[in-house]
């Protein structure tokens, strides 16, 4: 798993907080990690509640209307996977991000099969967690399944695979198209390198090199080069974001 550099929380906040406030439930038995997460989420403008064990977490998840649940895999009283199973059985579809010290491929698959929507191995950076939680929350909102994505004067037609910036038609390689599609689907949200590797390439390992950066810079040269307003931004210490203008 690629761990980005130190997150610059203030910057991340300014980009995302104004968009939408999320209600989060953190189910984590380690007091210190939980406090850190609650505090960090509140600092970026989200509402975060905390449950210290599986039973309490299940009860709170059922009663409260949360946008995203962040669930530790190993919990006292009821483990994370069984909690997710119980929630899904009762028809609760709130997106769940599983946090786990078990970072191996099979564990991730097991977690996703149990009904989790995303899986993040410990130790993680907060920027990575925040980016993933925001994408999960947006996914629930549902507008991302449009056939036409538009950011500023950049347009991507998912059906005809046509990409245009203003009046200029852009020619993208298939993978560049998918990369741009993913970025635009989550326009205005930070997308980490790991998320790109997982979702665009479907790889879950940790490249020791900056492969993703190279792909991004190629894409950037196609969509931003020669235009006055850059759309594809690098968010230092976190990842990338496509957005019309930056405050």
């Amino acid at each position: 798993m690629r761990l980005p550099l130190a997150p610059c929380l203030e910057k991340v906040t300014s980009l995302t907080a104004a968009e939408r406030t999320m209600r989060l439930l953190i189910i984590e038995d380690d007091r210190e990690s939980a406090d850190y997460l609650v505090k960090a989420f509140r600092e970026v403008g989200h509402i975060a509640d905390h449950a210290a064990d599986g039973e309490e977490g299940l009860a709170m998840a059922e009663s409260g209307d949360y946008d995203v649940l962040v669930v530790d895999r190993m919990l006292p009283k009821r483990d994370g996977l069984s909690l997710i199973g119980a929630l899904r059985d009762k028809g609760n579809t709130a997106p769940v991000l599983i946090l786990s010290a078990l970072g191996q491929v099979d564990d991730r698959i097991k977690g996703l099969r149990a009904g989790g929507d995303d899986y993040l191995p410990k130790p993680y950076s907060f920027a990575e967690l925040l980016a993933r939680v925001e994408v999960l929350s947006r996914r629930r909102g549902g507008p991302a399944e449009d056939t036409l994505y538009r950011v500023g004067d950049l347009e991507l037609d998912r059906l005809s695979h046509r990409v245009a910036r203003g009046k200029d038609e852009l020619t993208l390689q298939p993978r560049e198209f998918r990369l741009l599609e993913y970025l635009m689907k989550h326009a205005g949200q930070v997308v980490t390198r790991t998320m790109l590797l997982e979702n665009v390439w479907d790889y879950h390992f940790d490249p020791q090199t900056n492969v993703i950066d190279v792909h991004i810079s190629r894409l950037r040269s196609k969509i931003d080069k020669g235009f006055e307003r850059p759309l594809l931004h690098t968010i230092r210490g976190a990842g990338y974001m496509i957005r019309d203008g930056i405050r």
Binding site: L5, V105, F205
Partner: protein, 486 residues
């Protein structure tokens, strides 16, 4: 447990007991059959003799009357070892013969019967037994002719005695044999348990004694020895990993700590602190990566990832990795090419992808062509990296060939070990685990990682078993790629 108790509890001894029982039963039934048949034969013979004599006497009586009968009986009765004869009047009075007394009622029933009797001349009081036939003559006279059964009894006695002895001999020999076999087995088992015990107490280098007979115990010992071999290798591997972890994780940890201390000691501005913290996070990320790689290797080596295998074409993986790394190679002034043919495998796709990615990353990092004297570059395809998926017989070869300096033959075995980095590569970032992981992944799939010379350059090949039954077409080897591998 006493020595005897141990002996009695052995499988060999128990089996002996079962066989012993079976053989005793067999001998007993054989003898019983023999005895019964002998008895039948003797009885038959007696019956025939008595019948013949009865009809003879009857005929004499019919021809010459009672007087001749009495005379004939008397003369026959006096012969030594003679049969039994008795003639009685209709009132039951004996008038001729050699029978002194009979069991009551014998003369009253006609036909065959077995009875106790005494001869007239017998001095002792012992009863004898005889098989007799009583016939009625004219005028109510009765004739008894019979034969003593002592012979039959004696024969039966002999058989019974033979049975006793033979069963006794069977039991004694059987038990003796059982003890002998059990003790032999027990001695070998004891030797094996003794060794096993010593191994358990810590001496993993010891091996079980293996005999030359190649019997089941030898085979067991051989298999156990093979198992010990594997355990010892695993233990050695574990120890090596632990040592390496201790060394290679402690170094960056120390660096981390030193930096934090240094930052604390110096009273700097916020920017300094920030820089120090960023470096700290960078360093710890590196540590986590190393740790993850180690865990992954350990998993692959222990075979835990076997559960997640499916059928796919390794060429797809090669294509995917090519697609991912092609821009990176180009940025580094190299070209990444891919050459594929259908290569069906049954494998863990994630691990194969990662192993191949590691090989490609290595090629990009270390495969830059070396300048020859005068600065001219070696050949036309310098800076080219080739990913290739091909099938050779029942093997699938996933290879990455670069045109860099390669790895000297002496070092090839070495670089696959964990954390080993050649001097030339120390300046590059990396954990020294890439090849170890690739090798572990290949081993997990029952294959291997081969490192060879590409003249110039390195060819690293993941050799995997091809999926069985997936097309029998065997592609010819591609001629323009060096085939020489380590």
């Amino acid at each position: 447990m006493t020595a005897f108790g141990k002996l009695v509890r052995t499988t060999a001894f128990r089996l002996t007991l079962v066989y012993l029982f079976l053989f005793a039963m067999f001998a007993a039934s054989l003898l019983a059959y023999f005895a019964w048949n002998t008895r039948r034969l003797i009885t038959e013979e007696i019956t025939q003799t008595v019948n013949a004599e009865t009809s003879e006497i009857n005929e004499l009586y019919g021809r010459r009357g009672l007087r001749a009968l009495v005379l004939a009986i008397e003369s026959r009765a006096l012969r030594p070892g003679a049969n039994l004869y008795l003639v009685t009047t209709p009132t039951g009075q004996a008038i001729a013969g050699n029978v002194g007394s009979l069991a009551p009622g014998v003369m009253a029933t006609r036909g065959w019967s077995e009875t106790a009797y005494r001869r007239i001349e017998d001095a002792d009081d012992r009863d004898h037994r005889a098989l007799v036939r009583v016939t009625e003559l004219e005028n109510g006279f009765r004739l008894l002719i019979g034969r003593d059964l002592a012979e039959r009894r004696r024969l039966f006695g002999i058989v019974a005695k033979a049975a006793q002895w033979s069963i006794l001999i069977v039991v004694v020999l059987g038990l003796g044999g059982g003890v002998f076999v059990a003790r032999r087995v027990l001695r070998r088992i004891d030797a094996m348990s003794g060794t096993a015990h010593r191994i358990m107490t810590g001496d993993l280098s010891e091996r079980l004694p293996v005999g030359r007979s190649g019997d089941e115990l030898d085979r067991l010992a051989e298999n156990l020895n093979a198992m010990l071999e594997r355990i010892e290798a695993l233990m050695a591997g574990l120890k090596e990993v632990t040592d390496n972890i201790a060394h290679d994780l402690k170094t960056p940890l120390t660096r981390l700590r030193n930096r934090a201390e240094e930052a604390l000691a110096k009273s700097g501005c916020e920017a300094d602190y920030r820089a120090a913290l960023e470096r700290t996070i960078e360093e710890s990320d590196g540590l986590i990566r190393t740790f993850n790689a180690l865990l992954m290797i350990a998993r692959a080596e222990s075979g835990q990832a076997r559960g997640n295998m499916d059928d796919f074409d390794a060429a797809e993986v090669a294509g995917g990795i090519h697609e991912l790394y092609e821009p990176l190679a180009e940025d580094d002034g190299m070209t990444l090419k891919v050459k594929c043919e259908p290569t069906p495998v049954h494998a863990n796709r994630e691990l194969i992808s990662q192993a191949l990615a590691n090989l490609v990353e290595n090629a990009i990092k270390y495969g830059k062509p070396v300048a020859q004297t005068g600065g001219t570059v070696v050949s036309m395809d310098s800076g080219q990296i080739l990913i290739e998926a091909r099938r050779e017989g029942d093997q699938v070869l996933l290879s990455v060939t670069d045109r860099g300096p390669g790895i000297p033959e002496a070092d090839r075995k070495h670089v696959v070990e964990r954390f080993v980095r050649l001097e030339a590569s120390r300046t590059q970032p990396g954990s020294g685990l890439g090849l170890s992981l690739a090798a572990a992944v290949a081993t997990l799939h029952g294959g291997e990682l081969r490192l060879g010379d590409a003249h110039p350059g390195l060819v690293a090949t993941l050799v995997l078993p091809a999926r069985v039954g997936a097309g029998d077409r065997v592609a010819p080897p591609i001629p323009d790629v060096p085939q020489k591998v380590a």
